[in-house]
């Protein structure tokens, strides 16, 4: 039994939960994040994304991308640069284990139709599936609509550069479709 478990944990070495750094107190660090991302998962600002219950690997890659300036943002770049890979993994693990908060999201007449036309055209569901997220694909269902709108427009306007293939996809969509998509996805 021992050897079996030993072999198995070696298999999981790439995953979360290993190489814990004694000096790093993830709970304490999370206090910093809570200032914007919320004490109980509900962000303070409408353009700040929900990270409670977000996908582990996605949170990790975003933190690494901010740190390496592959994704640039006035506050997140500086914050993420403070953490090494293991620490970023611990933060990601911490937030991925939380429950996603329920938000109030209102849609407008015609949003679903416009959004679905955009989704089919951009072949979004090939990766995003039912928008619930999976590993490297972020959850978008129930995300803050103002953040979703902003980040899609950031792709379109070449502000957000860390998923460059999204740029051409978003450029195919007019702003009305992007806004409908944001409301629609937030309401899922």
């Amino acid at each position: 039994m021992r050897t079996i478990l030993g072999g198995l944990s070696a298999c999981l070495a790439a995953g979360p939960g290993l190489a814990q750094d004694a000096a790093f107190d993830v709970e304490a660090e999370a206090q910093i994040c809570a200032g914007c991302h919320g004490e109980a998962g509900m962000p303070v600002d409408e353009t700040t994304p929900i990270i409670w219950g977000q996908e582990y690997f996605y949170i990790y890659t975003q933190l690494r991308d901010y740190a390496a300036a592959r994704r640039e943002h006035e506050v997140m770049t500086g914050i993420a640069a403070e953490y090494d890979r293991d620490q970023a993994k611990q933060l990601a693990e911490y937030y991925a284990a939380k429950d996603w908060p329920a938000i109030q999201a209102a849609t407008e007449e015609g949003d679903a139709r416009l959004a679905n036309a955009g989704i089919t055209g951009g072949q979004c569901s090939a990766c995003h599936g039912k928008w619930e997220g999976d590993s490297r694909i972020p959850r978008a269902a129930g995300q803050q609509p103002a953040y979703l709108e902003q980040t899609m427009k950031d792709f379109k306007n070449e502000v957000r550069m860390n998923a460059p293939d999204k740029i051409s996809t978003m450029k195919q969509l007019d702003d009305a479709t992007i806004e409908a998509l944001a409301r629609y996805l937030a309401s899922l």
């Binding site: 951009g122 072949q123 599936g129």
Partner: protein, 566 residues
């Protein structure tokens, strides 16, 4: 260097004996049908003539998808009715090819669940749920295309790039092997192939800058036996200017040569996934498979050269994995019109009209290619099955329209043949797209398309079922469908063809002339290859109806078996 090291390390992690308890849910091991039968190599080799079982993803080692039973035939197919419907736990894209061994059926779902079912009743025998690691990758839905069976074992590749072996009787995990590094974009959706105690499997990742391969693993231990990289260290090739059908691909060879001098060979991140099963020729002990697109898909500027062996038919030695021959359809592809549909081995006419051993492949370009199995060379290509309007228009920064769209022609969907009619059957897509290029450096294992392909929303799309005479390349018949087709097709000795559509229709056609003989509305997209089997003297047709993530066809979770009404 760094990359090469990581890719090579995909080490073997074995959990011999029984796996961790949390790795599967076992429900019940008993079956009214008694013991599960041991699948011998002999059974696997005779599958083409076995009208009881369905032992290989594509029917047999030659991958003909021609099923020898004829109880269900053109004369009585109108009496085909559902025998049972099994609902899986996962409502998502279903691409599984049901495998049937002596009355026991194995199906898989998105996110790597495996079910063993009583093939007569649909009753669940066991259910295995893969304990997914933290990093999974897919370009085109969380799909899985099924299991391979051998001995008392069932094998499956996973989205976190593992190969797992399960006990066929209980669904307990026997071992698992890490095939390659998941963080770098390697993952598995194809069903493995088992031959002579080796499990053969390729890899996804052509959208992530991987270095593709086909590997062989030991069925007993999960240890790697050989590895064939689909991208050689010298990938530049012969600077081909025209594709296999003779059209100019508008390459700027001088600029590419200069870039090659400057940046060196791009083989480490050149893609070349292998999406579907190899055809196995036990006479010559060779396998034949097709290799997918180069990475990044649309941006050729970072990968000068022909990008060997992407977009190619490749043959390697079954026992050693040594290269035998290849034929490249498109050198330096910038449209993702690669090679995915699994190749078929069958007798074909050569140019002189003699019967020789040939290989058929349905390309994403929408042509059927016919090769000489001896040296992989091209004998002929068919008439185009779909519009070729604007091929090859180079992708631009503003987006350029072209047909076929990036889903093909023919997608991963396997073809089927009828060796008596000398016809091969393919399902097609007509999807005009814009191809947009945007050059970005290798993003270390994240999605790397180098641009995007987008469906043009206001243009009409449709599909076809097409029968091609492989001795002449002529289209014998073609039937149009409401939507682009993805999934697969089965031909039977009953003179029938079965295939499903995104709108939920599952249809039977007369394989000689394309007449529709039967249809059933499954309630969700039928986008999986059908199988057939016979238990207690009764023939069944079975198919998954779970829709498709890539084309956004309505999702569901049904496995539906049909048989003739009494």
């Amino acid at each position: 260097m760094h990359l090469k090291f990581l890719a090579a390390v995909g080490g073997v992690c074995l959990a011999l004996g029984s796996g961790p308890a949390s790795a599967q849910e076992e429900t019940s091991a008993s079956t009214l049908y008694g013991d599960l039968q041991h699948v011998t190599q002999d059974m696997l080799e005779r599958a083409a003539g076995d009208g009881n079982n369905f032992l290989h993803t594509n029917g047999n080692y030659e991958q003909t998808r021609y099923y020898p039973a004829s109880q269900i035939n053109t004369g009585n197919v109108q009496n085909l009715r559902p025998a049972w419907i099994f609902q899986t736990e996962v409502v998502d894209s279903l691409e599984t090819s049901p495998i049937v061994v002596n009355g026991i059926m194995y199906v898989t779902t998105s996110f790597n669940h495996v079910y063993a079912l009583d093939a007569r009743t649909g009753r669940q025998i066991w259910h295995y749920k893969h304990q997914m690691g933290p990093v999974t990758t897919y370009c085109c839905g969380p799909n899985n295309r099924g299991v391979a069976v051998s001995g008392d074992r069932v094998f499956m590749g996973t989205l976190d790039a593992k190969l797992v072996a399960l006990d066929a009787k209980t669904g307990k995990q026997l071992w698992e092997t890490q095939i390659a590094e998941a963080e770098l974009g390697y993952s598995e959706t194809m069903a493995p192939t088992v031959v002579d105690n080796m499990v053969l499997i390729g890899t996804n990742g052509g959208e992530y800058g991987i270095r593709g391969f086909v590997k062989a693993f030991d069925t007993e231990t999960g240890e790697e036996i050989w590895n064939f990289y689909t991208v050689p260290e010298d990938s530049k090739g012969v600077w081909a200017t025209h594709d296999a059908t003779g059209r100019d691909m508008k390459r700027d060879i001088e600029a590419e040569k200069a870039a090659y001098e400057e940046m060196g060979d791009p083989y480490e991140t050149l893609g070349g996934g292998v999406w579907q099963n190899p055809a196995v020729d036990l006479e010559t002990r060779r396998i034949y498979f097709v290799v997918g697109n180069p990475s990044p898909d649309l941006d050729g500027s970072l990968r000068p050269g022909d990008n060997l062996y992407t977009d190619s038919l490749v043959s390697v030695d079954l026992d050693s994995g040594e290269y035998v021959c290849h034929f490249q359809y498109i050198a330096h592809d910038v449209w993702d019109l690669d090679a995915v549909s699994p190749p078929i081995i069958t007798q074909v006419k050569d140019e002189a009209g003699n019967d020789i051993k040939g290989i058929l492949h349905g390309g994403k370009t929408g042509y059927v290619y016919v090769h000489d199995a001896e040296d992989c060379s091209l004998i002929r290509f068919s008439e185009p099955m779909v519009s070729q309007e604007g091929r090859w228009t180079l992708p631009t920064e503003d987006g350029a329209r072209m047909l076929p769209g990036a889903n093909g022609g023919v997608e991963w969907s396997p073809m089927a043949i009828d060796p008596n009619e000398r016809l091969t059957y393919a399902i097609n897509l007509h999807q005009p797209m814009t191809y947009t290029v945007r050059s970005t450096p290798y993003p270390e294992g994240k999605l790397w398309l180098g641009g995007s392909f987008d469906v043009i929303p206001d243009e009409e799309q449709w599909g076809n079922v097409t029968a091609v005479d492989y001795d002449t390349g002529k289209i014998r018949w073609k039937v149009r469908t409401e939507q682009p087709m993805i999934g697969g097709i089965l031909a039977t000795a009953g003179g029938l063809l079965f295939t499903g559509e995104g709108n939920g229709l599952f249809k039977a056609f007369d394989s000689s002339n394309g007449a529709e003989l039967w249809r059933f509305q499954a309630g969700a997209g039928v986008n999986a290859p059908p199988s057939s089997y016979t238990v207690e003297g009764r023939q069944y047709i079975v198919v998954g109806a779970g829709g498709n993530a890539q084309l956004n066809y309505k999702r569901g979770n049904n496995i539906i078996a049909f048989t003739l009404a009494d």
